[in-house]
Amino acid sequence: MPTVTYIEHDGTEHRVELPAGWTLMQGATLNGINGIEGECGGSCGCATCHVYVDEAYLDKLPAPSETEEEMLECTASPRRANSRLSCQIKAMPEIDGIVVHLPETQS
């Protein structure tokens, strides 16, 4: 199973194995990782699952959809070049080992 490392804003690290196809948002909420809310249930509608993707993995992800692009303009913490919504990132073998940093606040 692909491994995902979530690094909270305070530096706390969580290494989690996710079944392929699960989103990084689902992996975080189901494992009780603070710092990802996912209030809309993962329908790309609330921008509360914002993450900063480690640069080494950024190019391995499919480009954000138009809706995700628009939602990324609405994040509570500043949008950066490596900002993505974790409900739109699926755990797949290609991104095994991915590291995401959680922003200071989601809402």
Binding site: L30, E39, G42, S43, C44, C74
Partner: protein, 403 residues
Amino acid sequence: MAGLVIVGAGQAGYQTAESLRQDGFDGPITLIGSEAHPPYQRPPLSKAYLLGETDAQRVRFRTVDYYAQHRIDLRTSLDVTALDRAVKRVRLSDGSCLGYDKLVLATGARVRPLPVPGAELAGVFTLKTLDDVDAIAVRLPHAQNVAVIGAGFIGLEFAAVARKLGKAVTVLEAAPRIMGRVVHPDLSHYFTAYHQARGVRIVCNAAVAALSGTEAVEKVILADGSEVATDLVVVGIGVIPNVELASACGVTCDNGIVVDEFCRTSDPDIYAAGDVASYCHPFAGSLVRLESVQNAADQGRTIAAHVTGKAKPYATVPWFWSDQFDLKLQMVGLPHGCDRVVLRGAMETDKFSLFHYRGDELRAVDSVNKPADHITGRKLLAAGVSPTPEQAADEGFKLNSLL
């Protein structure tokens, strides 16, 4: 210490428990759910779950281990049958009793039954719980003609899914237009056309008189005598708040359990949250009972904050959403009493928003595939900032610049 007992393990009940631990509450928490499943998110049920894009495990809020790890005594398949306020105790369906220091009623709402002959036939479903959807999923692959009774969010979301799966779909709505209770007529018309263009048959002013069939449902009979052949019916005609536990022991109810800004009921040791709670929302200015994820979650957080001594009045501007086909409808605010609606964007592009005004004051924003307008609308309404109708209508004007 008897601790805190939460009746109902839906969105509001779960959120109360989660936030209590997050906020440092150290006493015992018992979370009682009538369903067999650990707490889960309902919104995906009528959409991604039915399409097989997610599963029962992934719709859970947390893994099962979470509850034990956080000393939340999760008790499933259990109902609370009576409440004795004098001795601060609830009676459970297994015959046992449980004392409480503080009680949270997050009992939710139940689907309004269809009051016609034949409503109990096999092949007739409601869509609220995981078990409901699992039952639909067993029958749906074999169904040809799906009938949806009630054109609210649930009915239309299901209609879109059934259509995507290749079924012939008829939506029967008693009112003159779809989603009439919650959206502006312009949006009803837009969504009607969108569904029709994708092959959904929509019949408004349709009074269902009976369902009939020998072993299972075969047709819906309307009051005008017309019939709709069907082998699967989903009924989504609204919900009834589960107030009985509270009303039976004299807790004040008025279309729900009445709560104050801290979600306290008329009994200082009893809170209520979610679909069952009726609240004089400052944004509405009158008692409202909101059936939404946002309301359930925020009221759960409000209770936790109050219990842990960090009381913060609940005043979030209400927001809702519904996904139908590839339309993302997001609503914020309450458009009641509005006298002017302004269109931002063009409906033909399937990306637009309606800004609702009462006089010069912005009261609500409904967005279709314009999530940024929705989020900006939330910020504007929370801040009490109203763009002029001209600014709202001008897509070149950055609404964010007003904040």
